[in-house]
Symmetry: C2
Subunit: 355 residues, 2 copies
């Protein structure tokens, strides 16, 4: 620690992202990337943008991209916010919309995206973690208490479990005193987006990522959708932080992704059917698999330590994620890969559990 740091810096406990191993021959199933890669049309669109225009600042409001997203979800551009990955979008959301100490603590699940408490530290937001049920469900009834905001992923991570749109709407009907953020990073793998509820609930904010279902983790593009008043608050923060969070290539890639709907649907379905196959095979090996609507499964074996399994897999060149954390230390979070990656994983697990 240093006397040159602002006071709060010494107490920060930064987020630990999943490892990005710099080795060639490994099967990487630890950070929920899409196995199928971006579409050829998208790569072509970015290639066409590789020109002298890179010398020019990008359009600070990224209006063309906002229009494409708005059209896709039947919203207006005033209801769309874009940023440098959904992590940046979430950071602005925590700072601009979820800091209401006078109304009560921010609420989120005890088992959830581990970046949430880090944002709270960064922006000095008081929070309370609401335990998932015994069977790892989010019980929205438990969130009906004084609060300064509510945020949860849907499907939840790392459980993969989904809340239906009806449950969400029922909850919104009696929860309008604070902002409700639904973090839909994984929604395209089996859920229904709550974006359709935005016109009715001015306190609802839906955050999405292009990293997972749109295969663009390496380009950093996220967005949020909500009432014009919520989005205006986010724009004030963004324009006080960095006027140009998205460059020309990111904007071109994002637009191209929405324009290639066929590829999006095809790869989305491939991930879903591979998830089903992977789940069935894990169950055949004796694993319990939580019902996932995401592009990963959360799974435990009745007789095997998860930490030990992760380390045995790693020796075999397969990286999965294990959280050393109360309630879930027996589980592994395994990204759904493509057919050959999933088969490698199953073969490896077969050899380990039959030892």
């Amino acid at each position: 620690m240093s006397s040159y740091w602002s006071d709060f810096v010494k107490d920060l406990e930064p987020y630990s992202p999943g490892e990005q191993p710099d080795i060639g021959n490994i099967t990487k199933l630890n950070t929920n990337e899409n196995p199928y890669g971006p579409s050829p049309a998208l790569l072509e669109a970015v290639r066409n943008q590789l020109n002298d225009d890179l010398r020019l600042y990008p359009p600070p409001a990224a209006l063309r991209l906002k229009q494409v997203i708005a059209d896709y979800y039947q919203l207006s551009t005033e209801q769309v916010f874009v940023g440098n990955g959904s992590d940046e979008v979430l950071a602005h959301v925590f700072n601009g919309l979820l800091n209401h100490r006078e109304k009560g603590p921010l609420l989120f699940p005890d088992i959830s995206y581990s970046f949430y408490p880090v944002y709270c530290q960064l922006y000095d937001i008081s929070f309370e973690k609401i335990p998932l049920s015994e069977d790892f469900c989010i019980g929205l009834e438990d969130y009906k208490r004084p609060n300064g905001g509510i945020i949860f992923p849907n499907p939840n991570a790392p459980t993969g479990m989904l809340l239906g749109l009806e449950a969400i709407e029922n909850f919104l009907q009696c929860s309008q005193q604070s902002v409700v953020v639904i973090d839909e990073a994984y929604i395209d793998f089996g859920g229904q987006t709550a974006a359709s509820l935005i016109d009715q609930y001015s306190n609802l904010l839906v955050v999405q990522s292009m990293s997972k279902s749109r295969s663009l983790a390496g380009m950093r593009i996220g967005y949020a959708m909500g009432s014009a008043e919520l989005i205006a608050g986010l724009e004030r923060i963004k324009n006080s932080f960095n006027s140009y969070p998205l460059g020309h290539l990111q904007i071109a890639a994002a637009i191209a992704s929405f324009e290639d709907e066929d590829y999006f649907q095809k790869t989305r379905q491939l991930v879903i059917s591979e998830r089903q196959r992977l789940t069935a095979q894990l169950e055949r090996l004796g694993f319990e698999v939580l019902p996932s609507q995401a592009n990963f499964v959360f799974t435990r074996h009745p007789h095997q330590s998860a930490e030990e399994l992760a380390s045995r897999l790693r020796e075999l060149g397969i990286v999965v994620r294990h959280f050393k954390q109360p309630r879930i230390q027996d589980f592994l979070r395994i990204t759904v890969g493509d057919e050959s990656q999933n088969s490698l994983l199953i073969d490896a697990l077969k050899s380990i559990v039959s030892d």
Copy 2:
């Protein structure tokens, strides 16, 4: 304003970036972009990165890029921080290194980058503006007073005027109680970077941008260099905000830029010689031009209103920047374009002032 906004949001007065007009046939001399564009080798490097890897998260620490920057400036990777444009880097600097209310206000020049007071609002930092001298110089003697940090651009913007390295080192020798940030967005157009002083002064932070001298405004890449302890503070903030601020394509472009030193030197020199030509021609038309070491000139005419000149130029399809601000409302800030852009500008001004 909305009850859903965090309290401080309603008082924010966001930064206003220079206009990015969406019209084809204009001569854009308002946001200090480089007229020459990125090098062919750089475009090729980015093209080679357009592959399936875009589905994978980028390396969160961007270590290969840090190594290239460290080598270029004879530093170590622990002395380098990278971010999504120097605006994002500056935001983290204000939050993490310049918030020391107990030591005194942050100090910066009254005529300077207009984003500084916006960051102060965003992070609730008390500040004091130190007036430039009558002839628009930064007088470092005036900064020898209790303070929580010091920041100034060198060359300063929008004046373009440079402080020499010796003056900076003399100042650092007796100013080690707080962090001194030198914002070198324009240093490559005529100044000497203070990066060479980093090993001696652990409170010195140098911020640079790849938007100007490296023609990459459209890709959003900035960096900071300083002692390992300052950089460690910035990393804590960054990893509590967004683990992956730079995507694969940004990293590839940045590395390629440093690897094509010939192109960098050639285009840098072209801008410098065009600045000299432009300055001489403006003076021939009766303009006063402050001595610029940047890729823009700051200029006024003894008998013409700057606001009126800007609007007449705009009618002729040329956009320059005018700041409606005390002390400098008589000036225009004009980006140094390429030969044909500068000739267009001079012809237009000739026709206007001889009316």
